[in-house]
Assembly symmetry: C4
């Protein structure tokens, strides 16, 4: 039975890794499709920004799944919905890059914010579903690490909600908030995160 669980979890991770890898790679198609961007920095900024955002989320997903010892059908579907949000990221990122200085700036930052809220909700849902009463946790998952993950996911929804509401006042300010959230997560994960083997 242990073997069966392990195989199943492995296949979810493989599928998720595939989706992350493709979503992160498709970002370059936005540059590709239009070689005239050679002199336009917003397209490059969107590429770098989208890449790091998806990359940080991959690291988080990795860290989260690592705490689970087995999986069930509900987790499969929560994970599927989370991946739907991941795959969607390049679209509002490209929208912001193209529209931030034009008439549709607000629609672009709203779209990005809603994607962020969606992702924050499903990262929390995935984690709480599996960690609640240690439903899916590994037997040796440590209390400190578990509460650390729970804490680190708390600010996600309020942060993205703030950025989304700011869209109505100033799309540019909203885009800056999104950038700050991404940098905050990247830095806190790299330098203050627990090591996988911690």
């Amino acid at each position: 039975m242990w073997i069966i669980d392990a195989m199943t979890k492995t296949r979810i991770e493989a599928f998720s890794d595939g989706v992350f890898a493709i979503a992160i790679t498709l970002l370059v198609l936005d540059l590709h499709a239009d070689l005239s961007v050679i002199h336009q920095w917003p397209a490059y900024a969107a590429f770098v920004f989208g890449f790091l955002t998806i990359g940080v989320m991959w690291v988080n997903h990795h860290h989260l799944m690592h705490q689970f010892g087995h999986v069930d059908r509900v987790l499969l579907f929560l994970n599927l919905l989370l991946l739907m949000g991941i795959v969607f990221i390049p679209f509002p990122t490209a929208l912001i890059a193209e529209r931030i200085r034009g008439g549709d700036a607000r629609a672009a930052t709203l779209a990005y914010g809603c994607t962020g809220i969606f992702l924050a909700i499903f990262f929390n849902a995935l984690w709480h579903y599996g960690a609640q009463g240690r439903r899916l946790l590994r037997a040796d998952a440590r209390v400190r690490e578990i509460s650390g993950i729970t804490r680190s996911y708390l600010p996600g929804v309020p942060l993205y909600l703030t950025g989304t509401l700011l869209s109505f006042a100033s799309p540019v300010a909203s885009a800056c908030v999104y950038a700050a959230i991404a940098v905050f997560y990247a830095v806190s994960n790299t330098f203050f995160g627990k090591e996988p083997s911690g």
Copy 2:
């Protein structure tokens, strides 16, 4: 010999996971290619709908392959044909999203229905080929789970056939049937499906 079989099955799963992951991720390209969809909900609906459809089929494929202990060449090719249908899904889904309110609505719902029938046939073929006389089943695969899968695959062909025939009367009604089939499978799989470790 056991090791050899296990490796081979692993590689089929890895390849299948890759194809599922790519097919599901390519859906976002339809949004990407045309940033003007920002105000058009059918494109978003097609994205969500296509994503969940492929996702549910991935869960089913996962569950099915899990019952098999080894594979043979015929299964490899049945699986290949099934994957061809999976990869095709985004195309009629996009057709419906674009054409449901225009002149080609019938062609779009017919294309979707034929894809659904094709998929239902090959899900059944894959399963029956492997389960017939326990040809490829794991030694410890349980009779109850096997007959459960057999039963759950039975309505696929008639359901999609109904939707396809309805295209001639009303493409919109046909599209609603497809949506209902997808929701039915998603819900029944998530809440009533057997757990992998069951």
Copy 3:
């Protein structure tokens, strides 16, 4: 040392599976990019044909790599060149679908034929490099299976060369030869091939 080799071989297979999976999935983009193909059968034929061709080559690659117990740098690069040919397949396939009834039919069938010859050469090169003096073969690889693979790869180059030369006389005849080669390999692999566990 055995572990090291096994890991390395696993990573080559994972990378190859990824490339095969992506190449086979990208075929649907040709339909996607232009939703107007809804009434044009050559585009569908190219999709099915390209999918089966890449799929059969994946099965062959799988079977071939299965005989190897370890890998070296030269094999890595031969495999890379083979994958370059695999990734290229959708391009001449699409060319034939679009041009077979127009002025560039000959260029299209020539491009397809050269791709086929390239692939046949590198399948042979990969196999002979690894099998020569049992350089990379598993200790338990059987003589009968080895000579079976050697024999099955022999007709590849002459067959595709015939199709390529036929291009100058009649592009349509040439396309029929390519279709016959693909069907021949698909059928012979499915029904007459040795089982992986054979």
Copy 4:
């Protein structure tokens, strides 16, 4: 703990393999998107050249990661930045293919050179971070192999810097330098590289 580390490293490799596989396969989309390239050799040259460049970097990445016994968060992020460079390669490669004979030749070779410098920096960073004081090295990693890798990464930055600076004098000369670097790495890796199994 050993198991945990090994799993984590496996998932990084799987994710990296996915990104490499997708980046290398997307190259063919540049041909695909415009079937009129049938008579234009620079597009084919860019395909072959980009494929081999990414392929050689995959082999190097493979060799490098193979020396590591475990990973940490900083390595995860250095690897992410390296992958960002890998994914970017097809873009300046396509630029050179399209622009080398036109007015934007300098911008194209500058873009390629900066990508090469970025990649050389992060290959060195990844390696030195992990090898410094044997931080992440396997217990059985050999001194000779380690210093061999260190040496082979040294010329990367100066070589690409030379090509980049040459852009100002002659874009064509610069492109030739890039081609020479790629051929040098491919040949030295295939014929003079240490075998994975040392």
